[in-house]
Amino acid sequence: MTYIIYIAFIFMAAGLIFSAIRFVKGPTAGDRTVALDTLTTIGVAALVLLGYVFQRFVYIDVALVYAVLGFIGVIVIARYLEGAL
C-alpha cells in the first residue's frame, strides 16, 4: 500500500513540474491561466492524498475549500482577458 502512495507522489511532482514549465514557456496569457488551473487541480489532489497519509480526514475540508475558491481566480482572469470585467 505504501508503494502506491510513493508512485502517486512521484506523479504529482511530475505534474507540478510540467505545469510549471508550461507556465514559464507559455506564449499567451491563456496558456498561463490554464497552467494555474492545472496546478490548482493537482494541488487539491495532493491535499486529499496528504489527508489520507496523515490519517486525519478532517483535513479534507481544506481541499474542499480550495477546490471551490480556486475556481474564482481563474474565472476573474478569464473575464479580464475577455475584456468584460
Binding site: A13, T40, L47, V58, V62, Y66, I72, G73, I77, L85
Partner: protein, 94 residues
C-alpha cells in the same frame, strides 16, 4: 520521508514562482505567479500540520488577492513599461 519528493519540488517551485513574479514586466503574469505562490504556500502549511492556516491562506490568497489585483490592473495599466508615459498613467488613474 514519504513525501520528501513532493516537498522538495514544492520548495523549488515556490522560489521559482517568486523570482518570476518579481522580474516579470507583464503584471497579469505576475498576478498569476502570485496565485501559484499562494497555492504552494497553502500546501506547505498543510504539510506542516497547520490546516487552519492553510484554510485562511486558501481563502485570502486565491480569491481575494487575485480579484483585487486584476481589478487594479483593469483600472491602471497592464505592462510595467507603460508607467513611464506619464499622461497615460495619469489618465488611467483618474
Amino acid at each position: 520521508m514519504i513525501y520528501f519528493i513532493l516537498i522538495s519540488v514544492l520548495v523549488v517551485l515556490i522560489i521559482g514562482a517568486a523570482v518570476y513574479a518579481i522580474r516579470q514586466k507583464d503584471l497579469l503574469y505576475a498576478v498569476i505567479a502570485t496565485g501559484i505562490i499562494s497555492l504552494i504556500l497553502s500546501i506547505l502549511f498543510y504539510m506542516l500540520q497547520a490546516p487552519d492556516v492553510a484554510l485562511t491562506e486558501a481563502a485570502i490568497g486565491v480569491a481575494l488577492t487575485t480579484i483585487i489585483f486584476i481589478i487594479t490592473i483593469r483600472n491602471t495599466v497592464r505592462f510595467e513599461d507603460e508607467r513611464d508615459k506619464k499622461d497615460k498613467f495619469k489618465s488611467a488613474v483618474k
